[in-house]
């Protein structure tokens, strides 16, 4: 089966109602799910399509979530790991809404601070990490507590992994 054919068969799995996250940089789909806090144990039907051809990106990932229409504020954090991602809201097999993920001005509780002596890394303190966006392209975040700057690919590596 040619890869073009493979892409075709993967793409035809249309969903009736829910969310399609397209144009994810290749290999980042699982990180997108992680940012959304989706583990697969929620019972939602989720299709993860990785490394398919894309005219815009060369290769890309796609995530399809059946039965859940994500709101812009829920999907914005996706931009931390997949700045190129586009979000399509599907209703009755039609795209009813289309938007891009945009990093909010303040990123709270999603990214870990790489500075080991940052107060957010002290054990047993009731504290959530908080970063302020300094630049958007390329993405630069600054820790509100210790001032450390993180940028680009480093941000994706610091996204807090969801457990359980």
């Amino acid at each position: 089966m040619s890869s073009e054919h493979a892409e075709h068969t993967l793409k035809v799995t249309k969903i009736r109602s829910g969310t399609v996250i397209d144009h994810i940089p290749a290999g980042r789909a699982l990180e997108v799910l992680n940012v959304l806090g989706l583990t697969g144990r929620e019972g939602l039907r989720i299709a993860v399509i990785m490394n398919v051809e894309s005219r815009k990106l060369g290769r890309k990932d796609i995530v399809k979530i059946e039965g859940k229409k994500l709101k812009p504020e829920e999907v914005n954090m996706i931009a931390l790991v997949a700045p190129t991602a586009t979000i399509n809201i599907i209703d009755d097999f039609n795209v009813v809404q289309k938007f891009r993920a945009e990093v909010p001005d303040i990123v709270e509780g999603v990214v870990r601070c790489p500075n080991p002596t940052c107060i957010t890394n002290k054990s047993r303190e009731p504290i959530k990490t908080r970063f302020v966006v300094i630049k958007r392209s390329p993405l630069v975040l600054q820790c509100c507590y210790c001032g450390t700057l993180i940028q680009g690919d480093e941000v994706a590596k610091l996204v807090i992994k969801h457990h359980s």
């Binding site: 002596t117 303190e125 600054q142 507590y145 210790c146």
Partner: protein
């Protein structure tokens, strides 16, 4: 007068502007008249000194300032802090102090500790040093010293020398200068101890002319204010590296031969051997005057935060 400090936390020198600092400096001028008096400005107030890291100078200076103003002082320091906390987290210790005191002064080895404490406490929190990040009251003292010596902070050429990576006094002084209009700041350190990226980014964003260098000799003749900090051996993974660089950042009478007559040397103290003792007798040495401003600057700050009058 609008009091920009009233009820405020003091986490970073960058939380304030030059207008606010001008008010603080005027109050400091006034506080200097009362260094041998017991005032009743903060009578009935309790100031908590929570020093999770050992400190002598900063803690004593806060304690004297609070007591001169008539406040009661409670607190702990260093080893004592460990037994106070007994495995308790910072958040719970701050909640306890919040219920006892009208103001909390905090020193802690984690960056961001003071900001976190301020989010928990209802009473104002003053950062007396959080890890390598901020030491805003030291910066206030340093800026006040420059203003007193030169009658201005603007238009001067500064060199900040030593450990710019881990030194919170140096970092805070650099941040403090960004609130003014220095002609230029030289950042002089061994390559391993260069100022952190966020500090350089702040200088760029505020449009402050600066240059990073490894040696002092070439620029000594241009400098008005030489801010010296200690380079600690422990910062070097290889002790040989330390031995190689340590001499190059020592201030000696010989080095000062090419300096402007009006050059002044500042140091947050304590010093070890980064300034030769023979420099003390020259007209360049300003670090003892600077140290003497520790109490009046902190008196002024505590008064303003707690809404007193001087």
């Amino acid at each position: 007068m609008h009091n920009p400090f009233l009820g405020k936390d003091v986490i970073s020198i960058l939380d304030f502007d030059r207008k606010a600092l001008e008010i603080l400096f005027e109050y400091t001028d006034r506080a200097r008249r009362y260094l041998n008096t017991k005032l009743r400005v903060l009578e009935g107030k309790v100031v908590a000194l929570a020093f999770f890291e050992p400190s002598t100078r900063t803690r004593l200076s806060f304690e004297v300032a609070a007591k001169r103003l008539g406040a009661d002082v409670i607190g702990f320091t260093g080893e004592e802090a460990i037994s106070v906390a007994k495995g308790e987290n910072l958040a719970d210790t701050i909640r306890m102090l919040n219920s006892y005191a009208n103001l909390i002064v905090l020193r802690h080895r984690f960056e961001g500790a003071a900001k976190f404490a301020a989010e928990i406490a209802d009473v104002p929190v003053v950062n007396a040093g959080d890890g390598k990040q901020h030491h805003p009251t030291q910066a206030m003292i340093d800026l006040y010293t420059v203003r007193t010596l030169f009658e201005t902070i603007d238009g001067l050429t500064y060199a900040v020398v030593g450990d710019l990576r881990y030194g919170r006094a140096a970092t805070s002084f650099i941040y403090g200068l960004t609130l003014f209009k220095p002609r230029k700041i030289y950042l002089i350190s061994p390559p391993l101890l260069r100022a952190r990226p966020e500090v350089l980014e702040t200088l760029r964003m505020k449009g402050i002319p600066f240059e990073e260098r490894s040696g002092i000799e070439d620029v000594i003749s241009e400098i008005d204010v030489l801010y010296v900090t200690r380079i600690q051996k422990e910062r070097f993974p290889d002790p040989m590296e330390y031995e190689k660089v340590k001499g190059s950042y020592r201030i000696t009478v010989d080095l000062l031969r090419n300096a402007k007559p009006e050059l002044k040397i500042l140091h947050p103290l304590p010093r070890v051997d980064e300034i030769d003792f023979r420099v003390d007798e020259t007209k360049h040495a300003a670090y003892f005057i600077q140290a003497s401003y520790g109490v009046p600057v902190r008196m002024a700050l505590l008064t303003l935060i707690l809404g007193g009058e001087l």
